[in-house]
Amino acid sequence: MSENVIEVRNLSRNFGDTRALDDVTLDVSRGIVFGLVGENGAGKTTLIKHLLGLFRAKSGSVRVFGLDPVKDPVGVLGRIGYLSEERDLPDWMRVQELMNYTEAFYPKWDEGFAEELRKMFELAPKEKIKNLSRGKRAQAGLMIALAHRPDLLLLDEPSSGLDPVVRQDILGAIIRTVADEGRTVFFSSHLLDEVERVADHVAMIHEGRMVLCAALEKIKENHRTIVLQFDEPRPAAPDLPGVLRATGEGREWTLLCEGNAGDIKKAAEGIGGRIIEDSIPSLEEIFVSRVKSRKHI
């Protein structure tokens, strides 16, 4: 399964003087859950809008299913189920009307599945979209994104601002989608624990730049948190190769490092430190260490 559903090459984008995307390159292979993480304003939505063909690549290239989404919107959008961050749905429609309306756009719309989802999310057919609660609105958006059984499910901040029950529905939809052979999920989130639960592959974006992009398992293998103890107090954090973030004072310092565990241990011993704790950091800790000021020494 080497086939890539998404290929982005050297994509850059400016809005006025702001660099929204800076030389972003990524591949998403078929059948995986790809999590895009970053703070608000990091460039996640800008990237997603390029994938949907809502923005034309001015510098670099974007391919979805091997096609240019701007030149071939039908070929691309017909195979994508998309839930936007704003959940922009036609407010004046009722739930049933929304379903009928959306069905017209998708030849592969599955009426039975749509009805199943509507019941599961407890959406009343006659309810006006504008009267739906925040959670119900997200579920309505998810229903129409899923009902044509898309090859690629694209979710922009799907659980932002939702209560835990609806969030479970969203994550459940991600899991069910990818459990069906050959379907792919691409979602953005700033909830790192959520990403760590469901993603196979993670990309971290910060101020428009890709700071890390790898299989979640590899990311976890490649980072460690170690607590070092020294015989004498140190005025500043020990400077070891691969340190992303250092906190502590005096004789005890906590370092989040990248690299091989054996090398880190050797380097620590080289400057007279003893490792008293060694653990694998959470994705959240890794993200923070890469995004916040690199070392505070």
Binding site: I32, V33, Q168, L171, G172, I175, R176, V178, A179, D193, E196, R197, V198, A199, D200, E217, K220, S279, I280, P281, S282, L283
Partner: protein, 131 residues
């Protein structure tokens, strides 16, 4: 099946699942021939990536704890795998280590501890007989 996942503590999720299933099998909460939930079902229940569950099942299959019957699901393997025995020993060893440490703190030597174990065993057996 009650499995709990924690993202803190650094143990990979697939390993947490595999260890807990081993524990359930070794402690006889799962009997040989019992069916496990499908990959998809357990993934939804735990809200984790199905690939993670599949990996845990695959590891357990390699170790002989589980068997997959084509098209019929995943089962605890028949006849108690050698690993289940090993796992039972491992679980008991952990408890014994704790007991020995405790005895050490209380200044009870091994001989007295063994006597006490024998005594307690007798009492438990008698209770069982009565009920």
């Amino acid at each position: 099946m009650r499995i709990r996942i924690s993202l803190q503590g650094g143990v990979p999720v697939y390993l947490q699942i595999a260890n807990q299933i081993k524990y359930l099998a070794a402690s006889r909460r799962f009997l040989p021939g019992d069916q496990l939930p499908s990959v998809r079902k357990l993934a939804e229940e735990l809200v984790i990536n199905p690939n993670t569950v599949a990996r845990a099942y695959r590891e357990l299959e390699n170790e002989g704890v589980l068997v997959t019957r084509r098209g019929a699901g995943v089962y605890v393997s028949e006849g108690g795998s050698p690993l289940a025995k090993k796992e039972r020993r491992r679980i008991l060893s952990e408890r014994i280590d704790m007991l020995l440490t405790e005895a050490g703190h209380l200044n009870v030597n091994l001989e007295d501890l063994m006597d006490l174990i024998g005594e307690r065993n007798k009492i438990l057996k008698e209770k069982e007989k009565k009920s």
